[in-house]
Symmetry: C2
Subunit: 228 residues, 2 copies
């Protein structure tokens, strides 16, 4: 369902070349739940950005739901980012000028949902992440963990086939963090979604069926943690 | 050394009043190492901001190193924020236009250090947080955990009597996170500094001598975890 085929990515810093991804090969089936762990700077976010069609590889193929990303038009890529992939960013990427409710609604605009359907979905999502009393707060009026929960709710609005979450519990206390990951797992299992989450917390990583370990731009381990 | 006396703080959201801190009383001695835990939205960042002289309480007293903060001039408050308190922000607050090295150097400008002393200190700090090969990257050219380490290095430059760290390991893998907290502990013990850190990771919280638990703007538990 997701194929990463011999992908390389580097960044140019003057004469120095930073190799972020070094020959990544990965194949993930529909409905699989995968955690990615690895040291700071090992390439986890870069890999997630490439799978999420937010960034390009220097070489290699990315195939998502049967589509080779390099063969899609800009319009088709936008559609994919909005309606096939839900993304929880490591730094949240919330719009500072919009309230929590409006931030959550954003990916649903330009879809077939009516205004009242969006409104209902936003209320539902605010409730699920325990932020119904923070709907009208803007990001700078929210705690770190509340901003993170807005980012998570936003990724769930379009019922996408793929959910990518980059350190979704980094700013959450243990109880809230566990609830949030269990929510992502439940939504994914019920919808046969493919869920890939990056985490540095071991008790969160072990909730996945499969665990990938990265180091220095390479996948150094890829193991099944649970048999279905 | 740090006294928080009957502090309250609320935010006005139209007709709704959000009570962020509800009658906080706290007394911390010089050289104490304190962790603060509590659920998302319980008031930890708000409390740290008030102790760090970055925000004001509605009522109550804050006394830092013998000074009642409400009696200080703006100039004296700036001095305190720069040379008495080192702060690691939950969202890093790095300057996007400056490199890692320049970000780390910032609090040292306007102090008595010469340009060459600052340069030497920045190199030392980059090394300590393992970012010597990332000195010239700007924040958007750094991974989440690398940005966090720049924020930590920046808080250490002025050898302040107080270090406040808000979720310093939120974006770090376990090995790096442990090293960073051990670094903060060592620097604090060697300099008889007062260290207060917020964390949601239990194995990090237990490294402190004393643990405070917050919930709904209140301190619900305050216990010594280690005898000296
Ligand atoms: N500027 C603001 N306006 C309105 N409400 C605010 C503002 N800043 C913070 N709050 C609210 O105050 C409460 C406490 O916020 P605070 O950032 O101190 O929580 P926290 O304990 O640090 O949470 P987290 O663990 O999620 O970082 C939160 O519920 C938040 O919504
Ligand atoms: N725009 C850029 N220019 C130069 N180097 C970059 C850029 N973006 C990322 N890097 C580098 O690429 C490497 C991988 O970054 P990435 O964000 O994928 O790491 P990560 O595994 O997500 O780390 P963390 O756990 O700290 O979030 C890092 O060492 C980083 O410094
Ligand atoms: Mg990352
Ligand atoms: Mg906080």
């Amino acid at each position: 369902f997701i194929i990463v085929d011999n992908v390389h990515k580097h960044y140019d810093m003057g004469e120095v070349k930073v190799l972020a991804l070094n020959s990544i090969n990965l194949s993930i089936n529909r409905g699989e739940i995968v955690s990615i762990v690895g040291s700071s700077g090992s390439g986890k976010t870069t890999l997630l950005n490439i799978i999420g069609a937010l960034d390009y590889a220097d070489s290699g193929k990315i195939i998502i739901d049967g589509h080779d990303l390099s063969s899609l038009t800009d319009k088709q890529l936008s559609y994919m980012r909005r309606e096939t992939i839900g993304y929880v960013f490591q730094n949240f990427n919330l719009l500072e000028e919009l309230t929590a409710a409006k931030n959550i609604e954003m990916p649903m605009i330009l879809t077939k949902k009516s205004k009242s359907e969006r409104k209902k979905k936003v209320e539902e999502l605010l409730k699920i992440v325990n932020l119904d009393d923070r709907a009208n707060h803007k990001p700078n009026q929210l705690s770190g963990g509340e901003q993170q929960r807005v980012a998570i709710a936003r990724a769930l609005g379009n019922d996408t086939k793929i959910i990518l979450a980059d350190e979704p519990t980094g700013n959450l206390d243990s109880a809230t963090g566990n609830r949030i990951v269990d929510l992502l797992l439940r939504v994914s299992k019920e919808g046969n979604k493919t869920l890939i989450f990056v985490t540095h917390e071991n008790h969160i990583a072990t909730k996945a069926d499969r665990q990938i370990v990265m180091n220095d731009g390479l996948i150094i381990e890829d193991k099944i943690t649970k048999s279905k």
